[in-house]
Symmetry: none
Subunit: 253 residues, 2 copies
C-alpha cells in the first residue's frame, strides 16, 4: 500500500485536531510506516508551524486566540507568520534581554518561547505581556498611555522609558519594507518608539511577510541597513534586491 507524504501529514494533523496530542508509536501503527518517516513528517509540520513537537510525539499549537477560518488563514498568511516567528525565536539565546513590539507578528513568537530559560522580555504590548507572563517568562511592561485600538502603549513617555534600557535583541513588526524608503509603519508615534528601541539594541530584527515587501507605509522607522529583515519571501529576484542593501534572514519551505 502506497501512501503519499501529504496524505500522511494530513492524517497526523487530523489526529491532532481530535485529541490535541499524538504519540509517535500511535502514528507508526496508524500510518503503517517506519519511525523515521513519522519523525520526518513531524519535523516538517513543525517547521511549517502546524504543531509543536514534544518528547515522544507532538501536540497541537495553542494560539490562545481563537482559530482563524480557512479563508482568513490564506488572506492573512498565517503560515508565513508562523515560520517567521519560529526563525525569530531561534535567534534568542539564554540570559538575554529581549524587546518585543506590540503586534501580531511578534505575538506569533510567544508559543515558541516557552522553553527559553532566564530571558527578560520587555514589551509595550498589553496582550503580549499577559501571554508572556502566562508561560512564565519574566516580563517587563513599559508604562504609558494605552492606545485602545491596538492595545499598545505609545507616546513620549515610552520613548523616554526605553532610553533607560539596553536590549540584546529587539523584534519588531513593520507594515512596509522598501529598498529605498526602508522600514515604515502607519503611526508616527509607533515609529518613534521603534526607532528608540532600535537605538538601544545590539541587534534589531524586523518581521515582515511577503505582503509587506516593496510596500511603503506612512512613517519611516529606519533604513534597511539599520536592522535585519526576517521574511518568508521565496522569490529570489526580490530577495536579491533587498540583500544588496540590508541583511536578510529567510524562513524557508
Amino acid at each position: 500500500m502506497k501512501v503519499l507524504t501529504e496524505e500522511r501529514q494530513n492524517a497526523i494533523l487530523e489526529q491532532l485536531k481530535k485529541s490535541g496530542i499524538v504519540k509517535l508509536q500511535e502514528l507508526v501503527q496508524l500510518l503503517d510506516c517506519s519511525i523515521s518517516t513519522v519523525r520526518r513528517d513531524l519535523q516538517e509540520l513543525e517547521d511549517q508551524g502546524k504543531l509543536v513537537r514534544i518528547h515522544g510525539g507532538a501536540k497541537a499549537i495553542t494560539t490562545l486566540q481563537n482559530e482563524p477560518g480557512v479563508l482568513e488563514k490564506a488572506s492573512k498568511n498565517v503560515q508565513g507568520k508562523q515560520k517567521i516567528a519560529k526563525l525569530a525565536v531561534d535567534q534568542i539565546e539564554a540570559d538575554e534581554v529581549i524587546y518585543l513590539d506590540a503586534g501580531t507578528s511578534t505575538q506569533a513568537m510567544i508559543p515558541y518561547m516557552a522553553n527559553l530559560r532566564s530571558v527578560l522580555v520587555v514589551t509595550n504590548g498589553v496582550q503580549l505581556a499577559s501571554q508572556l507572563a502566562d508561560i512564565n517568562i519574566k516580563t517587563y511592561l513599559v508604562g504609558g498611555e494605552l492606545k485602545n485600538t491596538t492595545k499598545a502603549i505609545v507616546g513620549a513617555d515610552v520613548v523616554e522609558t526605553i532610553k533607560n534600557f539596553r536590549f540584546n535583541r529587539a523584534f519588531m513588526g513593520v507594515n512596509g519594507v522598501h529598498p529605498k524608503f526602508g522600514f515604515t509603519t502607519p503611526d508616527p508615534n509607533e515609529a518613534a518608539v521603534k526607532r528608540a528601541v532600535l537605538m538601544q539594541s545590539e541587534v534589531g530584527y524586523f518581521l515582515a511577510d511577503t505582503s509587506k515587501l516593496n510596500e511603503v507605509s506612512f512613517a519611516k522607522v529606519a533604513d534597511l541597513e539599520a536592522g535585519i529583515l526576517i521574511t518568508d519571501e521565496q522569490d529570489s529576484e526580490v530577495l536579491q534586491r533587498f540583500e544588496q542593501i540590508g541583511e536578510i534572514m529567510e524562513a524557508e519551505k
Copy 2:
C-alpha cells in the same frame, strides 16, 4: 513509553482543578508511573507557576483573579461586590484623575464607568487597562515587572512612577480590614504600591466585602483612618465598631 509527559501533567492539573489538592500517592496510582516521575512533574509544574507543592502532594494556586471553581466564596459575594463597585463609581466626578488597583473588586467597577466623561484612569492592572481602553476611557498603565499570577504590575519601579503622579481619587481592594491592624494584603510588594498611591491621592477608598471585615492578612497597607472603607456589611454592630475609627460608606440593598 506509555503516557507522554504532557498528558501526565495535564492530568495532574485536571485533578487539581477538581479537588483543589492532590496527594502524591494518589497520582502515582492514577498515572501509573513511579514516584520519582510524579515528583518531577510536580516540580516542573511548580516552576511554571501552575501549582504549589506541599508536603505529600500539591495544591491549586489561589489566584486573586478569576476561577470561582474550587473555593466557592465568589458566587456569594458577587452581589456585594457589584453594589460596592457601583457605589465607588458614583464618587467619581468629571475631569478627575483616578487610580484603580489591580484586583477583582476594582475590576467590577469598570462596567459602571462607561458614562464617565473626560476622566483619566491610571492603573497597574493589565486586565483592567485593557477593559478600560475598550470602553474608551483614557487609560495610563504603570510600567514595571508583570506578576504572572495576578496580572498586576508590582515592584520598586511602580512605587517610583507613582510618586510622579497626583490623583483626585484612588480605589483599591484589600484582603483584610481590621479595627486594630488596619488594611492588609497578602503581598508586601502590592502593599507598598497601595501605600504609595495613598500618599499621592486626595482621597483613598478601600473596597472590601463582608468576608474581609475583621480579617487580617499579611502586609499592612495603612490604618483605618487613612482611607474611606466601602463595604456591603449590613450588621450595624460591626459597622459601628469600624465607624468609630475610620470613615465608612455602606452599599445597601
